[in-house]
Structures are given as structure tokens and as C-alpha cells.
Amino acid sequence: MHERFDEITQKELADNRAAQHVVKVCVAAGCLSSQSAEVKTALEQGVNGRSCKVKGVGCLGLCSEGPLVAIEKHLPDGSSQNIMYQNVTPEDAPAIMESLDKEPVARLLCPTDVPFFQRQQKIVLENSGEIDPERIEEYIAADGYRALITAVTEMAPFEVIEQITRSGLRGRGGGGYPTGLKWVTVAKAPGPDKFVICNADEGDPGAFMDRAVLESDPHRVLEGMAIAAYATGANEGYIYVRGEYPLAIARLKTAIRQAQRMGLLGSNIAGTTFSFNINIRLGAGAFVCGEETALIASIEGRRGQPRPRPPYPAEYGLWGKPTLINNVETFANVPTIIRKGGDWYASIGTAKSKGTKVFALAGSIVNTGLIEVPMGTSLRDIVYEIGGGLPNGGVCKAVQTGGPSGGCIPASYFDTPVDYESLKELGSIMGSGGMIVMDESASMVDVARFFMEFCMTESCGKCVPCRVGTVHMYNILSKIYQGEGTPRDVELLEKLCDMVSVTSLCGLGQSAPNPVVSTLRYFRHEYDELIAGANGSQTAVAPTTEVAS
């Protein structure tokens, strides 16, 4: 198998080198929505016999400046030179093609020597923006599927798990549960039938990491799942992807077909006794289906509602069989860990949070887009260095991490290293990686109200605290925000926060009060001011920044 891969790699490299210029157009959802497909067509029409190859690639990262076009110029000495263009329109295509052998088009140039590109360390996103997501050959040429072949032909399942455990990889979906431990429990669960599920039901407002990975490098996720299946003894896999991601679904389907054709999925992978198939299941727009037991119910064709755990899916999961559920990004880390070793991965990051994390920067920030940084990078670096600060030199007030389950971190805590424990201590969570940056104009009460509305409408309605409690909390927040609140409302709000988080059935309800709790903790003065205004009181309320939670 490795020989066949070498052959493909060589052919790909030769094809690539044959052209003097490789023009890479981003065809992920962000750029596509600003006409990158038309840009690609215009560029292809402009080739006109030049030694030039135009191809579509995955996300190049800087989504706010899309469509992005990267050009790789092969110099005679064998090295290559890279430039990037931003905000390219189809009308710019002739100018770009004309300039290939001359000076680049200055007005479109996107500087790549800035922290946004320099400070990143790419593992999950290493191929995105480099390879064509619709061609398996390019993934193989980028060392793809080698980890799977190595695992199934040269390693025992427990050795694979050992590497994952050593890497210190933790679940990237939000919880941060040690991945190695999860794999061990599924591997040790008895029974011939086991399942591997990839949770691609990314639903946090402002998060688009998993979407970019699936659209830019779908084979990486399939490879990670196949390795996980080999390690845990599963031979059937499901990808639960939300229906709102049509492009990701289309690319996954293409990728699965290609991998099956090459014998990398299906029966007797690489001539061994290991067989593994992957099916796609589409979510129908319910946020709660990202919760693992609700996701399983949905795959089984039932109403997407969680059930109390234990028993955990590792013991009693899909169709009652032991089931491994990991997030897209977790699986995407696996091939690299197997290829480069767990110890290598563990050398990146902080003491308890290893490796890198992909974040989606959104909100009031210059460089909206996707970044991958080592764990432990400070929020200040992420917002001001990599993110380029706020538009028009604005001042950042807080960053919301972890979506509706997370919290708001005020600017005074920006030197905190971003890892699972530190964020938890600040009353937020890592979550799946969405980061919403807010400037001075943002009302924190309104932010809390927004997320509470989200949880209220996304609650499945099974347990009473989440179904009714979120409605009461939303009503109180609205009342306070509209300047009709009383001090008693805040008291009641705090009581409800505690009760809903402790008594709710699943993670959605348990974490729904987090945005309220964290804004009450750091921005209590905003609540107090709105209430003081409502009661016509002229006494200034002293701003308190720290209130025991």
C-alpha cells in the first residue's frame, strides 16, 4: 500500500512541478459566498496556454478578506515563492494572470508576513488551503492515509490507543474529556458490534471550525475515524453532520466514495481483516442533537432528545452497542498524532491541554476567520496580535467563548493562557472554539439575553428546569434590559441560574445559565445600572468587577 501511495505522491508532485504557477482559489463556504467560484472560472479562462494550473482549495483562513487566491510560483532552482491576493473579483482575473511572470498586482496583495499567518501552528488545518478537497490523490500526496495504513498493518489496537493517550489529546467538542481514555473504555467494552460516530453537528453561534475542516480536508476526518475504529474494534461509522452544511456534506460524500474506491474504507482495508464503513446522517437543525445521547437517538430515527447518563455511550450507545463519539476536530488530529507520535504532539501546548486548537474569530475584530494556535496562547495575542485588534482602533470589552454554554471573559483577564482549565476558572469554557469579540458598545445584559434566547428555543423540552427555567430567565433578562427590572429580579435570576444548571438533564440545560452567570460575575454593574435607571434612582451604583459566584 505504501508503494502505491509513493507512486501517487510522485505523480502528484510531478504534475504540480510541471506548471510554473499553481493558482489556488479558496472554494470553502466563506469565499464561495463572495463569488469565489466565478473567480475560479475566470482564472481558468485566463490560463491561455500559460504554464499555470488553477485549482480549488480549502479555507485559507482570512475569511473576512475573501475571496482569497494564493499563488505558488516555482522558481528554476527548485524553491517556490508564495503570494496571496485578497478580495478578488472575477474582473480581477485577467490582471492576475497577466502579472504571473511580472510583478504582483499590488492593489490586491494580502500581506502574509503579519502575525495572523506567522503566529499560527497548523496541525488540523495543515492541508486546508493547500490541497484540493475533492481529490484523494492530493491528500495522499500530503502524507494522507499513511497513518491508517501504518496503524492497521504495523500496530496493534492497544498501541494505537497508547499513542493517543500519550499525546494528551482531549475532546475538541467542548468537554475536554481525554480522548485516549474514551477510546480505552470503548475498546474494553465487550461485544462484537461497536460503532464510531463523528459529531459534526456544529451549532454554536459564531463557530465554523468543523465546517471548514470538513470542507477543506474531509479525508483527514475519515482517516481519523478509521484509525479510531481499528483501535476500538468498531466496523461501522456514522458522521452526523448538520443539514445546514450542504457543501461539507457533498465533499464528505465524494471523499467517502473515493476512499472506498481505493480500498481505504470498506472490507479488508489494506489487505488486512479490518473492515470499516462510514455512513452519513444529516441533522435537521436541532442544537441539542450535538449532545451525544440526543445525537444517538437522532441517528436511530427517534426524536432528538437526550437521556440521563450513565450508562455512557461507550458502554450503551447506538442501538445499545458500545459507541465512540468524538468531534470533527478531535478525529482530524488523530492521523498526525499516529504519523508523528504521541510524544511529539504532547510537546505542544500547556501542561494539561496539549496540542493546538482551531478558533473561529468573529464579531468586532479586523481579521475575521479561522486560526489554529498552540494551547496556552493568551487571549490578548489572539485578539490583538493574530486577530489584528478591533476595527477603527476600538477597545475590546470582552470575548465570548464556548457559545451558549460558555461565558464572557472581560478584557482585564486577557493575559490568561487559553486552555481548558483556565477558561473554566474564569467561568467560561473552551467549547468547540467559537470566539466572539465585543467592543465597548456591547451591552452584556443583551449578550446574556441573546444566548438565553438561543437556549430557550433550542431546549428539547424533555426536562422541566431547561424547558421552563430558560423561559423565565429570558423573560427576566428582557425585563432588565428594557429598563423595567427590580433588584428582586436579579436575585431570582441568580436562583434560577443555580437551579437550572444543577438539575437539568443534559449539557444544554446544565450550561445554559453560563452566559448569565459570567456576565453577572464580571459586569454586574451593567445590570445594576439598568435597574437603578428603571427605579428612577439617582444614586450612582459603584461598579463592582468581582462578585463571588
Binding site: 426524536r303 440521563p308 428555543t457 431546549s459 423540552g461 424547558r467 423565565h472 431570582l492 437551579m499
Partner: protein, 239 residues
């Protein structure tokens, strides 16, 4: 009770009382066997457990999380507490949430005096509701020849859904919508009277804890529910 071979016996403590359990028995079953009362609204002997009402939450020593007694299984050496001050406070608040959710007006209800929700309020000492009423505008489905479904009194315990699916096997009842918008529906949200799958067995009416499901022609306080048939049916099936 069905006898099983190779069943292991566990010993544990509930509220300081030593109890013996068969493997797989839930804390709720055990507590009842030993005369310890744990409040619950969605549990129903004879059908599967749901874990949705959150009234039977208990504390287990060494764990921070509260778990529903109806689904927590007995473990060797477990120490369970069912009436800590914390639990009592949460139970009262949860009941407040339920009472504020829809339009529970006992004075005009067919189940007045025979209502599980009403008894629960008396038991937990909820003399008044500490939250603003949501007062939703909800319909009454009176299309069925024998029964009526009044959504104003429904607490979404899903007893009717489970008994319809698991005992009668008709699967007429189901749930629709999300969050506060969840409604009990018949078939694909058709009027009950037009349901082609409903066998009119009336089990759902008998198991409903409140006056949400009632027999036609009952006046205030007249709807008394009969639940004794359920465990009997279940036992007959097992043997």
C-alpha cells in the same frame, strides 16, 4: 416478579437505612420497598422511565451531580440521600416552574382533589407560586368521542406517550416541537378524533397525572383515575 439466574446482590444505604438490592434495581424502587418516599411525577410503574420531571433527584455521597432516582441503579456501598435541604429547595422550585408553565387552575379542573400535581404541591408545601405565570393560550382537543385532551393542564410527563407505545402498542401519542412549545400530539398532529391508530383504549387517560386527559362528561373534581391495571398487565406479560 420474574426470577433471574446469577443475579448479584448489592448492599447500600438510603437516608442512613441499610438496604439490599438486586443488581439493576433503581434507587426509586428500592426506596419504595423500604418505605422511603421520593417525590416523582413522570415515573409510572409498568412503563419505561423517562427522567424528565427532575423531582426524584437524589444526592450520592462522593458525587457532585444530582441524579434521578428512577434511573440511578443500585451500586455496592453507595450512600444515597433523598431529602437534603438542597434537594428540597430544588424540588420546590421545579414544582413552581411546572405550576407557572401552563394554566393550572384547580378550582375549575376535573381532577381537582385527585391530581398528582396538586398533591405534590401539598406534599412539598408550595402554598404559592414564586414565579410569574406564563399564561399561554392553549387549545383543548375535544374531537374524540370518549376523551378530551386539555393542553392547559399538561405537564409533559409523557406517561401517556409511553403507555400508548409500550403497553397498548398503538403509538398514537407523541411529542412535537421544542422547549416551551412542546405539545403532546396524536399521529402527525391530527385532531384526536381523526386518529386512525388510536384504539380508544383509554389507558393514556387513566395514567395522566393531571386533568389534561379526561373522560367526556366529567365535571369539576369528578375525574378519578385508575392506575392499578398497569403493573398487573406488565406482570402478565413477563410470565
Amino acid at each position: 416478579m420474574k426470577r433471574q439466574a446469577n443475579v448479584r446482590i448489592k448492599t447500600l444505604k438510603i437516608d442512613g437505612i441499610d438496604v439490599g438490592a438486586r443488581e439493576g434495581e433503581t434507587i426509586l424502587e428500592l426506596a419504595r420497598e423500604n418505605g422511603i418516599h421520593i417525590p416523582t411525577l413522570c415515573h409510572l410503574d409498568g412503563v419505561s422511565d423517562w427522567g424528565g420531571c427532575r423531582l426524584c433527584l437524589i444526592e450520592i455521597k462522593g458525587s457532585n451531580r444530582l441524579v434521578p432516582a428512577c434511573m440511578a441503579q443500585a451500586e455496592e456501598g453507595m450512600e444515597v440521600f433523598t431529602k437534603t435541604p438542597r434537594l428540597v429547595t430544588y424540588r420546590k422550585m421545579i414544582l413552581d416552574l411546572l405550576l407557572s408553565e401552563r394554566n393550572h387552575v384547580c378550582a375549575v379542573c376535573v381532577s381537582n382533589g385527585h391530581c398528582d400535581l396538586q398533591s405534590m404541591a401539598q406534599e412539598l408545601g408550595n402554598t404559592h407560586v414564586g414565579l410569574p405565570y406564563l399564561n399561554p393560550s392553549l387549545p383543548v382537543d375535544a374531537t374524540h368521542p370518549y376523551f378530551i385532551m386539555d393542553h392547559n393542564r399538561c405537564i409533559l410527563c409523557q406517561r401517556c406517550v409511553r403507555v400508548c407505545r409500550e403497553i397498548e402498542g398503538a403509538q398514537t401519542k407523541g411529542a412535537m416541537g421544542r422547549g416551551i412549545e412542546v405539545r403532546i400530539i396524536h399521529d402527525l398532529n391530527e385532531p384526536w378524533g381523526q386518529s386512525l391508530t388510536c384504539t380508544s383504549c383509554g389507558k393514556c387517560v387513566q395514567v395522566c397525572p393531571t386533568g389534561a386527559l379526561l373522560q367526556r362528561g366529567k365535571a369539576v373534581g369528578e375525574m378519578v383515575k385508575r392506575r392499578d391495571f398497569l403493573p398487573y398487565l406488565q406482570m402478565m406479560r413477563e410470565d
